[in-house]
Subunit: 393 residues, 3 copies
């Protein structure tokens, strides 16, 4: 009889995605969401930590700059007390070391205008892009070349979905939230694209009140279930729930449970879920038909991730936009992202105690329904652009 502690099969499987097991601090050399545009006002300064990188962002006359949030003098953080004497620089609050926003080069020292360090010392900068109402930062090695497109790290346009709203299109309604979750980022990713985790949602207000009939779970039903999705713009993904490659399980004879089929109300197998590098989830049909939700599980450090959710909808006129706003504010945000998704947040945080030991990734006793998770791990191991080292190492 097999005991969890002597799981040789799992160990063998884990070899196929070994780099993923090391990715406690995330994947590097990818684009990550950092802020909503509205979070950095004109001439505002804010700080963010992504995959262990502490980054200060300043907006000047609409343009954004991102620099390492640490003075090269004695390690003070600019964001501890933002100080800017002009539009081209950021200064340290402690001794006035002043760096160029665009290049990170030391431009002057307040009390030592002729100092030999000037023009020679610099701190690193980060590529930053503002698109679709969001601010993205390219995090990883400073000298990584060539720099991939932002599009390559976003979920792709699903051309076979006629109502698909693509984040970067002009006429797309986009609203969302983000908040920190006390679990490693991988527990977020592996919750979102997990075709059988729906068990935890069965009693949610969203599911019960919408009349959604959840099956017991989904298991693969076609070879495509575990295959890599490689898109022309460079996006790399795998399927989560997708009615064409996963089939719903409606009964369990041993437990005497069966779910009536065909179901009334929305059918969850009409949703379509896919996961994409570096940490994106695309849910077509959530929180309602015609909508798309994108989630990101952005690594903050080894034990926390920033959980992003945006709801997208194609709006061809102001009338549709007003209706989308109404739906977002009364349903998508309070019931979808808050009530429903909080159950996922709890699940991730519950698993963190177990997964704080990195080797636990790879020691699971997976079953058929876990194919999506295994496929995701292999994808991440195969197509990541680097494994983020811990800071200060």
């Amino acid at each position: 009889m097999k005991r969890a502690s002597v799981d040789r099969t799992a160990t063998l499987a884990a070899r196929e995605y070994a780099p993923y097991i090391e990715a406690t601090w995330g994947l590097k050399n990818h684009w990550y969401p950092a802020f909503f545009s509205s979070e950095i006002p004109a001439d505002g300064i804010k700080a963010v930590t992504i995959a262990g990188h502490d980054i200060a962002v300043r907006r000047v006359h609409g343009k954004l700059y991102a620099l390492r949030d640490k003075c090269a003098h004695r390690g003070a953080r600019f964001s501890q007390e933002p100080l800017c004497f002009n539009d081209e620089t950021i200064s340290c609050w402690y001794h006035g070391y002043t760096y160029g926003l665009a290049d990170g080069v030391l431009k002057t020292i307040l009390a030592s205008p002729d100092d030999p360090l000037i023009g020679k010392l610099r701190i690193r900068t980060y590529p930053i892009e503002e698109r679709g109402g969001m601010i993205f930062i390219f995090v990883g090695d400073e000298d990584y070349q060539p720099r991939p497109s932002l599009e390559s790290d976003l979920p792709p346009r699903m051309t076979d979905n006629p109502s698909f709203p693509y984040l970067l299109d002009e006429d797309v309604f986009s609203r969302g939230i983000h908040r920190p979750v006390n679990s490693n980022w991988r527990l977020g990713m592996e919750n979102g694209n997990d075709p059988t985790h729906i068990l935890i949602h069965r009693k949610s207000f969203y599911v019960v009140m919408s009349g959604t009939k959840l099956p017991l779970g989904f298991i693969p039903s076609a070879p495509e279930a575990g295959q890599f999705l490689e898109l022309p713009d460079g996006q790399k993904g795998v399927w989560g729930v997708n009615g064409e490659v996963y089939k719903p399980v409606m009964q369990n004879q041993y437990l005497g449970i069966s779910t009536p089929k065909p179901v009334a109300g929305p059918r969850i197998d009409e949703y379509r879920i896919s996961s994409w590098l570096p940490c994106d989830l695309l849910v077509e049909g959530f929180p309602a038909p015609g909508w798309v939700t994108i989630e990101w599980y952005v690594p903050i450090d080894d034990v926390r991730h920033e959980f992003w959710q945006i709801a997208l909808r194609l709006c061809r006129d102001e009338h549709e936009r007003a209706a989308a706003t109404e739906f977002y504010e009364t349903v998508a945000l309070p019931i979808g992202f808050t009530e429903f998704s909080h159950i996922d947040v709890v699940a991730r945080e519950r698993l963190q105690e177990h997964y704080r030991y990195p080797e636990r990734f790879g020691q699971e006793n997976f079953f058929a329904g876990d194919l999506a998770i295994v496929a995701w791990r292999k994808l991440a191991a195969r197509f990541n652009r680097g494994i983020q080292e811990p800071p200060n190492s």
Copy 2:
């Protein structure tokens, strides 16, 4: 002049109980109290951690089952959200892995009824017994054989004490409490059986108001003081305060302190204290003549123990039982277990900072009165059934 830091004598003595010094996580392959019977209602599920083992307990139709509180799939704890579809199994709330209560074998997976893992994977179970209003679990190696009797890990029946109430007898009144204490379990044990720690109780309400005249301490007065007690049912113990083998010290000339003798009121040397493997203390005569108190200092982890106290009294009819209840609720619980024993709790927690370094067990400068502690350590080193390894090691 001898400095504490160069204590060669203590180091030599410590060799005699070396295994005890390693027992940070407790002794394994022993029975430990886990709950009072009343704490697990019909069909209830509760979790407990003993010596680093996380254990889920479920009661079904009066019968109790104990299993490892961790799903073999991905490490979720059953107790985080108890889920049972029938009377024979426990299911994981995350993906519905369903295990037999009696054998821990995977019986089904909710969304994969034909999965090859079924019948092959299992989690460990623990022997569990409900006796005398309490629930005990045998904690240690799963394959430990033969399994010792529960009686061998309880304080024995003291046949030379005519009013002795034995925990497992039918006509015994038994009531008690338990609560976590922030110290290693050994600091509990070594406080309870310490014949000179009574100094800390001299100003307690219980001592002052009862007119108890405490001596300054007790020191050994007969060879039996340090000898092992080996009982026919397998119990192993040593004496703490026992008037036949320890004598009270009534004065200290250097300090000009003397205690009048014979004393008025209850005499503490009429108490009789003994300590027993794995972590039990037996106090005959506390909190009043005719009563017995049993304490356990059950290891939770390396820095906490669960402190148990039960008060026992022989009751031959309902009248005696009503009187015992009255005494327990008005004296034993509020004054004995709460006011008086809280002083011991504080002492143990104060010493934890020092003893967090394991080698500190064995570096003491012991005096004559510490014989009971040294004897206990040697007993534990000699008769334990194994030293508990840390979890996840």
Copy 3:
């Protein structure tokens, strides 16, 4: 272009003060302030931790005694529950081990008056002196000989300053405060003697309301700026801001900032600051002309220091003393030590996250204004009487 992470120059410079980099727990074999005299009442007992040494201090009939705050029996702290049976000893609350205050020798055990340990076991004592309204303890190796004078570890009398009040003189007004700060002690020292940190004070109530015109900073203007001060009584120091060896910087052309000169109101370059072993700062002219402030940044452990400030003033009669009291209570304490100095406290605590890694001391990108810090480091590396080892090592 030079990146902070490949700072070879800094690494080379760091070799010149390598012992300082190791001094996480402070310098040993020096005198440190422990209490104000008023903090230990007649027959009072208090505990203090200096450089990892836990010390109990008892006053008996005006005389002070300092002993290790840990019983040699089982590690209990005397200060957890002070217990003294007479004027010559301190006893442990747990089992009554009783030590001589003067020599630390075990005089008796409460319950074992004839114990062989008596007269043989001892705990260490610490030299203690009460001078100028303060209590100082000599912390370090017990056998360090010859013991240096207290004066050698205090800031010296500045004989070229006619209004200079020396702490140990009879007619000196002295009042002050102390409180713990959550940073390593070196961040306190390197804040106090830093000639360019005044940037952080520019908006303080003290600076603004007093009409003080701060320059942008100070940079060295004479060779004495970085030289060691070696005084006849053994004091070792270096200059911080001193108008004769540092010059104010009044403008920065790159930033378009200039400070009008000559300035109105108090001129900060009329202050004179010097730093002294082991962790003392002397500020002549603060918080007002005719006053002197002494600060100490006493190591508590590796991540905290006790921040001391005393204000001194020469008072030749009761009238002057009353005026000094009035000024201390209405200006020096609430505005100088509280409002103004709190800005320094915040700066030190902000830098702690960076400097928790010891090697960060020595990896800075220093500029001209940092000469005082570098000189201090070299002084400490050259003249310390030992680097304090961590406790329990």
